[in-house]
Homo-oligomer: 369 residues x 2
């Protein structure tokens, strides 16, 4: 198989801005080209757009606005993990030999139509994600004797880390007490336990090994890919305190990369709600089931940014189609030693975890220098 | 590169039915599984949905409804050539080695939101496809001294061929006079020159060479793939009487398949409007520029179904997300000698041409036994 890596990235601050989707996509595309003058647009053979926006033909629109005439143009959607699915698609096109360079651009508006999955009648009248998150939280707390105060640490840590990320939606820090006293959304969920939908844009360029050296001297290679969809309906989950799709995706990705979980130096994981962080860590094998809050607390107390250095979805905001790409960019920056005040020491292998709709589907990527 | 082929297909009649998109997708998925009892759903590792419908997370929804738990699930959109783009995506995932079998399902409702490209302000107030088709028609007629009566042959031929296709929207035949006397839509376009948006569904399974023999003894291989996007805006076209993106896509696909245009025995091409048939034939090199109406007339007079045997978009109807897949299924049936009264003699190599938005993007596939 042809080796495929990440050659370039562009990203702009997440906000609540009211902006047309095509202009939003272009924000990070322009940032990418400004940062990477060595990229000849003539060599870009694919443009893939990741979004839940209802606008059509965004691949050709971005291509025309950016001055690219590619072979392939498509829009890709799979709710909250559209971003990593687009990266995997670009990887496939390159690894198969059809093309050598693909621009992947993801963006979302704050009012994205991807926030509620109408089809899932198993949710009854409770269709908003806060309801599955609430059930996950209750199940996790009961099963592992974890308290609201314990889980609040996730939000405290990720908001703290987001303050070091110039692109994050939030730049405030909070105490455990602040989280507990924030507006109660459901019996088990407070406002500060939730990531917020927002407006944002993130783009990357993937390239084959053959042409990589013409673009960058610091390529980051995608060495592992794992994906799993267990269902679309939330109640088909085998457990409400673990993520089955994440477990399978993670195993597949690590096996492909020939790595073990202990080899991972930095993780961007999908903390749509506080409880998702320990659940994802445990499902990926970073800790025994029910034990990862210890690890999260220790990392927080020692100001170790290993988990969600950019601030997670909770601190950075969650523009659905851009999230998986923004997570990937953070791991790329960490591997390139370019993460400024968020930089972790001695990073050689990173992992991205992106999931949709109560973890009914997950994508895991392993990235290496 | 791993060899990739088409292992199975399912399709249901095109109509004006008012039906939910997920149920529509399932219509052809169920048909596929009924026809192919050898397919073990456990081995399906990808579900890709082709549609312009605004519903989200249709990949996992189809997977759950069909009883599949794949690795990858995505929805793919690129307006009218979403179908062939989904096939190329499935091809890439398999050829790259990430998966071995992918279900591609395309569907559209008659009221698809993909019919008008709002973004394209170069169209002025004339955003409906009939306006670019009208300009194409005027330009083609003027440039090559072709008459309305000449072009009407395309509609007459394709309606005749559609009558042999049990899944087509139309089962009526028309004379040249009928076409000319049908409702005038623009100065250069009559109602019977236009394909009609409709409700429809078509699915195929793609598989790697490794597992193909477990599914079918009649695989059809994808030997050539060509794609090109020149722009999103209609007026960026270099010419209004040829299709630049089609020309490039066709050259790439034939080169990959190591074939010449004279080797092609059957063609499914994108006749969204009458004028598109001669334009596509000429852009792919089946005839000199401005000369293909002779070929079309001769085929019509001799009841030779070589071009658009299933009846084209004009006769069969145009459910956007399903069209490229339905075109591919027709060529598969022709290659397998299973096209009933539409069957062409001695078919060994076929071609699919699918395009979007005034031919600003095109996909061409070469298929072989």
């Amino acid at each position: 198989m042809n080796k495929v890596g990440i050659a370039a990235y562009g990203i702009t601050p997440f906000s609540k801005e009211d902006k047309k989707i095509e202009n939003l996509l272009m924000d990070s595309v322009v940032d990418l080209f400004v940062k990477n003058p060595k990229i000849d647009k003539k060599n870009i053979e694919g443009v893939m757009v990741s979004t839940n926006n209802n606008s059509k033909y965004l691949g050709p629109i971005v291509a025309e606005m950016a001055g690219i005439q590619p072979k392939t143009t498509i829009s890709i959607e799979n709710l909250c993990n559209s971003g990593t699915n687009s990266i995997v698609s670009a990887y496939s096109y390159i690894a198969s030999g059809l093309v050598d360079m693909v621009l992947v651009s993801g963006a979302e508006r704050f009012d994205s139509p991807g926030q509620i999955l109408d089809w899932d009648n198993s949710r009854g009248q409770f269709k908003h994600p806060i309801f599955w998150a609430s059930l996950f939280t209750k199940s996790y707390k009961n099963h592992f004797s974890v308290s609201d105060e314990d889980l609040a640490i996730v939000s405290v840590k990720n908001h703290k880390q987001a303050k070091s990320n110039p692109n994050s939606l939030s730049n405030k820090t909070f105490s455990v007490e602040d989280v507990i006293k924030s507006k109660q959304i459901t019996e088990d969920l407070r406002l500060l336990d939730c990531s917020r939908s927002c407006t944002g844009s993130a783009s990357i360029v993937l390239a084959s090994e053959k042409i990589m050296k013409d673009i960058t001297s610091e390529p980051i290679w995608i060495s592992g890919i794992g994906q799993k969809t267990t269902s679309a309906g939330f109640t088909k989950n085998n457990s409400f305190h673990s993520m089955e799709s994440t477990k399978e995706a993670s195993n597949t990705a690590l096996k492909m990369a020939n790595k073990e979980i202990k080899d991972i130096d930095v993780v961007e994981l999908h903390d749509a709600f506080s409880v998702c962080e320990p659940m994802a860590l445990e499902s990926m094998g970073f800790s025994d089931n029910g034990k990862s809050m210890r690890m999260i607390k220790e990392l927080h107390q020692t100001d170790n940014f290993k988990i969600n250095p950019r601030g997670g979805l909770i601190g950075t905001g969650h523009p659905l189609g851009a999230t998986g790409i923004a997570q990937t960019i953070e791991v790329v920056q960490q591997l390139q030693d370019r993460a400024d005040s968020r930089q972790i020491d001695n990073v050689t292998t990173g992992l991205v975890h992106n999931m949709s709709a109560a973890a009914t589907s997950s994508t895991v990527l392993v990235l290496e220098k």
